[in-house]
């Protein structure tokens, strides 16, 4: 289990990186945190002839807030997110979700941009991007473009990023102060790839009626998906246990997962529903307790 031979470059600016990608074409791969890429290289499932290591582009490590949105540099580590008070304050879902990624040593190296562009359908960050209608910024030889999550994910491990482009920033809207959230996932072992997962956000009005609901589901499709039927079902309803269970049931019917060595399609379908209900329960609790705090 040793990788194939490759040429290695460690540019220090985005422009340099883009130029290298242009020069080396299809066979070049960007090395970010490497926590997914390197195992695949060790297995020789992935055999790049050239690696462009972007870890030396130090400008790409930042988290800041602007216009009610979090702007996160692509090589910001998961560990930086989980220890960031800014993230904790303005985006509880991201704060909760990032802690579910792998284990400490993985989060030390793993990067936000890498995780999103890797586009593993069971991963947490793509689901959070989906739940919050986030965007990524891509830079290529022809300039930059900003892509909504909806247009970003194509299928397993595939996004619309061109081989000559690099993702330099992730933009995630802050959660409104009236929002409640939860990230629920089911793994057989702590830190595993999820069998299925649900990122849920709800916003309620003064009468505890749901005004906005977001349900992003992992592990049930080639990309993270939004359970739109269940979302529209929730809007306008008061969030009783029966309603949350019905939303879960709707999610079960909405998803069309595959069977694999870890779980059958039916089981995954069921799990997506059960986890939805659980996530919603916790989101509602959070919603109510945040409201209480505000009223105090």
């Amino acid at each position: 289990m040793k990788p194939v031979s490759f040429d290695y470059f460690a540019p220090t600016t985005v422009n340099e990186a883009v130029a290298l990608l242009e020069e080396h074409g299809d066979d070049a791969k960007i090395l970010a945190g490497g926590q997914s890429l390197v195992p695949m290289m060790n297995f020789r499932l992935v055999r790049p002839t050239c690696l462009v290591d972007i870890n030396q582009i130090r400008d790409l490590a930042y988290i800041h807030e602007k216009d009610d949105r979090l702007h996160i540099g692509a090589i910001t580590r998961h560990r930086d997110l989980e220890t960031s008070t800014l993230v904790q304050q303005c985006n509880g879902l991201l704060f909760e979700g990032v802690q579910l990624i792998g284990h400490t040593a993985i989060r030390t190296r793993g990067t936000v941009g890498g995780s999103i562009i890797h586009a593993d359908p069971t991963a947490e960050l793509p689901a959070i991007l989906a739940a919050l209608d986030g965007e990524v910024r891509l830079i290529g030889p022809k300039g930059q473009r900003t892509i909504s999550w909806r247009d970003l994910f194509v299928t397993f491990f595939t996004t619309v990023i061109e081989p000559v482009e690099i993702c330099d920033e992730i933009i995630i809207p802050k959660l409104p102060s009236s929002a409640g959230w939860a990230f629920e996932e089911f793994t057989r072992r702590h830190g595993d790839f999820a069998v299925a997962g649900v990122a849920a956000v709800i916003v309620t009005d003064n009468n505890d009626r749901c005004t906005d609901a977001r349900l992003a589901i992992t592990g049930t499709a080639p990309t993270p998906i939004r359970a739109t039927q269940a979302e529209s079902f929730l809007v306008g309803k008061s969030l009783t246990q029966t309603t949350l269970e019905e939303a879960g049931r709707l999610v079960s019917t909405e998803v069309e997962p595959e069977s694999d060595v870890h779980a059958t399609a039916n089981y995954r379908q069921h799990l997506a529903g059960a986890l939805t209900t659980r996530a919603l329960q916790r989101a509602v609790e959070r919603c109510l307790s945040r409201k209480d705090q505000r009223e105090k």
């Binding site: 289990m1 040793k2 057989r188 072992r189 069998v195 060595v261 059958t264 089981y267």
Partner: protein
């Protein structure tokens, strides 16, 4: 006499060191990165091997061409099946239908991952590059993975020599099983499926091979763990004399749990490689190779029926077994089937039984010893049926077991299959387990939990824990007529050897060939020697690295079948006693008193009457080395003792297939409470109590560590891990993402307690416990989950109980198809 691990053994004031949890001698080097594992050895000019493996489960090899690979810069050589066929012999196979098993595929590949060619290069990276350049052509053949389907007449045949894919068949009968079934008030039947899993050591197979062309000698450094029968087997396969084959095992092995027994085909492969390239060759198996193609536990389908009286007494049982050993019957298989033969009735007074065993080959990785070897299967079957008896009679499952136990006054107890249980008090240990678990309180808690709609279950399992295999048990696989043939060499015995020496300045060194893999032998031996020689364990240096050319070893040496605490410690204790006798005789001679009057204290000898006139241990030892004339008349010079301990009751099987398959027999009880999440099907262990009787306890914390580790492997196999194949024989679990070993977050706490029934057959009374709860935990979990689901009318007949499977069981109860 019950006690918690870690406490001093009550009433054992006569022992100063035995029974104490002294710090481990092994730890300092392992904690500071100074251990010596095979991959840490620095052999000059070592080159690196990589192995090309079959992507097909079953195919004829029509071409293997190394030319392009050999042209790669940095590559110095390679071998294919043709070289193997020409230069090696097939391995010895214990079966009624022998097959040709070589270290590499020669004509056909029969499982995914089977070696097809090997390359040697300057480093591992280049060696792997070269694998990409090997041209192989296959003609694929239909594959078969299911043992019951493999024996059907239209199944693909793996080996021409093995009709119906049945490598071995035995019908074994003991007592009068037909009468037992005639007398029974009722008969219960189950079809049970036991899965494939591996206790997978964290250090993979590791070998360095060096061939001396001038002398014809082959040296193999490896993490080989015994049994040393693999030495002659390897020598024979490589067509070299045994005295030209040297196995060296460094002091540290990164776990094994039986798995590394099956390293010898690779020892042969690496031996051949180094003969070919004329430089030392290193091969470190990678994790994918390990999970695909090293070794794994046999999977089994069994049909068991039990004959029971209306009072819940089991009169007898019949079992039809399909044991799936994978593509080749690799020695010591079919030991899964026969290793527990002496203890196949477990702790129960069953007198009549029949075993109809088919040992089946299929297109899966070959199997071999794995912690709980054969016993996890056995107790899963036995204990599931004990619960079914309880269910049928509406008795408490604890009560049913109490009604069937062998009683304390019956020891030594001879089982109908020839096992001689040395000592025990099963009812007492069982009662202690109920108490440790808080059985009645837990049953009450269960009632409340059920009323709240929770899926709460309690499981019990018991087992007799066999230690120190009798080398002869495996020959039960052969028909008695074969064993009667005049050319047949009967097999029996179970021995271990230890060497103790005292150097000229009075320091003690012990040499072992036990090849431990984390069991703390250095510590335990220091304790025993310190005890016998009245020294401190700190004074005793133990060298536990093996070199077959230098060490004294027996054919059964090694660390497997839970043997060290029983046979290894016995060899050490006896050697220490002999040495003690000798130094006391020298001291008496020098002090000019009778031996009985010599006292040893603080490294000085004196006569009881005159404590002020003492001589130093170094003086006594020095006399033996430097002044032979000062020794008593006729005494041998020097202070070296090598003692081999051999069990006298390890006979070859008799004509009725009875055999004392192990030499000491402990006892264990596991009790668990579990909760199943109705949404996810996930089983959570709420409480786990485990009681053991391993005879005299030498080091309580090391024993506790063995129980914890064993239990964890049982839990892993029952809830998490499984080697899975698709119908075409593709292995689906060759990464640690897909082969799901539990982590600290999945591990339960265990309440451990002991009773001690010293073995009359070992000098210290100790028995082995290395496998311990790995044998009973799977049954315990199955019973607990079955109990949790029993209000829904769901039966549990198959492991592992993954969340997905439990959810499906729940769905079936809910009347929904999945």
């Amino acid at each position: 006499m019950s006690k918690k691990a870690g406490e001093q053994i009550p009433g054992r004031t006569d022992y100063k060191w035995i029974g104490k949890s002294i710090p481990r001698h092994e730890d300092a080097r392992l904690l500071t990165g100074r251990g010596t594992f095979v991959d840490d050895l620095n052999i000059p000019n070592v080159h690196h091997a990589a192995i090309l493996r079959s992507p097909h489960a079953h195919a004829r090899i029509s071409k293997v061409d190394l030319r392009r690979a050999l042209n790669l810069k940095g590559v110095i050589g390679g071998i294919t099946g043709a070289d193997v066929l020409e230069r090696t012999r097939p391995f010895s196979v214990v079966a009624t239908s022998p097959m040709q098993y070589y270290c590499m595929a020669t004509d056909k590949v029969r499982f995914v991952g089977e070696p097809v060619a090997a390359i040697v290069a300057r480093d591992r990276y280049i060696a792997e590059d070269a694998l990409d350049l090997i041209d192989v052509e296959y003609e694929t053949l239909p594959a078969i993975v299911d043992p019951e389907k493999a024996v059907e007449s239209d199944a693909p045949i793996l080996h021409e020599e093995v009709p119906n894919n049945i490598a071995c068949h035995r019908l074994l009968s003991y007592g009068d099983v037909d009468a037992a079934f005639d007398q029974a008030d009722f008969v219960l039947r189950e079809r049970l499926v036991f899965p494939r899993y591996t206790s997978m050591p964290l250090e993979t197979f590791a070998i360095i091979s060096s061939y001396d062309h001038f002398r014809g000698g082959l040296t193999l450094w490896s993490n080989f763990m015994g049994p040393f029968i693999m030495h002659p087997i390897t020598a024979r396969a490589l067509k070299i004399a045994e005295n030209n084959l040297r196995f060296i095992v460094p002091p540290d092995i990164g776990g094994s749990f039986g798995i590394k027994t099956s390293i010898y085909p690779y020892l042969t492969l690496l031996g051949l490689l180094s003969m070919q390239v004329d430089v030392p060759v290193k091969w470190i198996e990678d994790r994918r190779e390990h999970l695909l193609a090293s070794s794994v536990q046999t999977d089994r389908v069994s049909y068991r029926e039990v004959a029971v009286t209306k009072t819940g007494v089991v009169l007898g049982f019949r079992t039809k077994l399909y044991d799936n050993v994978g593509a080749y019957l690799r020695t010591p298989e079919p030991a899964t089937t026969f290793r527990p033969i002496g203890n196949v009735v477990g702790p129960y007074q069953v007198k009549n039984l029949q075993i109809d065993a088919d040992i089946v080959v299929t297109n899966k990785c070959p199997t071999g010893p794995n912690r709980a070897y054969g016993c996890a299967h056995l107790y899963f079957e036995q204990e599931r049926l004990m619960d079914k008896v309880a269910e049928k009679l509406k008795l408490d499952p604890a009560e049913v077991r109490l009604r069937n136990f062998i009683q304390p006054d019956e020891f030594p107890y001879t089982t109908p299959t020839g096992g001689i249980y040395d000592s025990g008090d099963y009812p007492k240990a069982f009662q202690l387990a109920l108490k440790t678990f808080g059985y009645e309180a837990m049953r009450k808690q269960q009632k409340t939990a059920r009323a709240d709609g929770r899926l709460f279950g309690i499981g019990i399992s018991t087992g007799v824990d066999p230690s120190v295999s009798n080398m002869g048990y495996l020959t039960v696989a052969l028909d008695p007529e074969v064993r009667q043939h005049p050319d047949y060499l009967p097999k029996s015995g179970a021995a271990e050897t230890a060497t103790i020496k005292i150097d000229p300045l009075g320091q003690v060194t012990v040499g072992l060939s036990s090849t431990p893999q984390g069991q703390g032998h250095e510590t335990i031996v220091a304790q025993i020697v310190a005890e016998e020689l009245e020294l401190s364990p700190e004074d005793v240096t133990v060298i536990d690295e093996c070199d077959t050319a230098k060490n004294i070893w027996s054919i059964s040496s090694g660390t497997y079948s839970s043997r060290f605490a029983s046979v290894g410690t016995s060899a050490v204790a006896n050697a220490a006693k002999t040495l003690r006798e000798k130094i006391f005789r020298i001291a008496a001679h020098l002090l000019k008193v009778d031996v009985e009057d010599v006292v040893f204290e603080d490294r000085r000898f004196y006569a009881r009457e005159t404590p002020t006139q003492s001589i130093k241990l170094s003086h006594v030892a020095g006399t033996a080395h430097w002044n032979p004339n000062g020794l008593p008349e006729g005494m041998e010079v020097g202070l070296n003792v090598t003692e081999t301990f051999s069990f006298p009751l390890a006979h070859a099987p008799d004509q009725k297939d009875r055999v004392n398959s192990s030499n000491t027999y402990g006892f264990m009880v596991d009790l668990m409470a579990v909760d199943i999440d109705p949404d996810t099907g996930q089983v959570k262990i709420l409480k786990y109590a485990s009681v053991h009787d391993a005879g005299t306890i030498i080091h309580p914390k090391i024993l506790e560590g063995q129980i914890y580790g064993g239990a964890m492997h049982g839990i892993a196999g029952a809830l998490f891990e499984q080697q899975l194949y698709d119908d075409e024989g593709q292995c689906l679990t060759a990464t640690l993402v897909d082969y799901e070993c539990p982590f600290s977050t999945e591990a339960p706490k265990i309440d451990i307690a002991h009773i001690e029934s010293p073995s009359p057959f070992t000098p210290l009374g100790s028995k082995g416990a290395g496998e311990s709860s790995s044998e009973t935990a799977p049954a315990c979990i199955a019973n607990a989950v079955a109990d949790a689901l029993s209000p829904l009318g769901v039966n549990v007949t198959e492991l592992p109980l993954t969340p997905n499977r439990c959810w499906e069981l729940l769905q079936s109860a809910r009347g929904q198809t999945t």
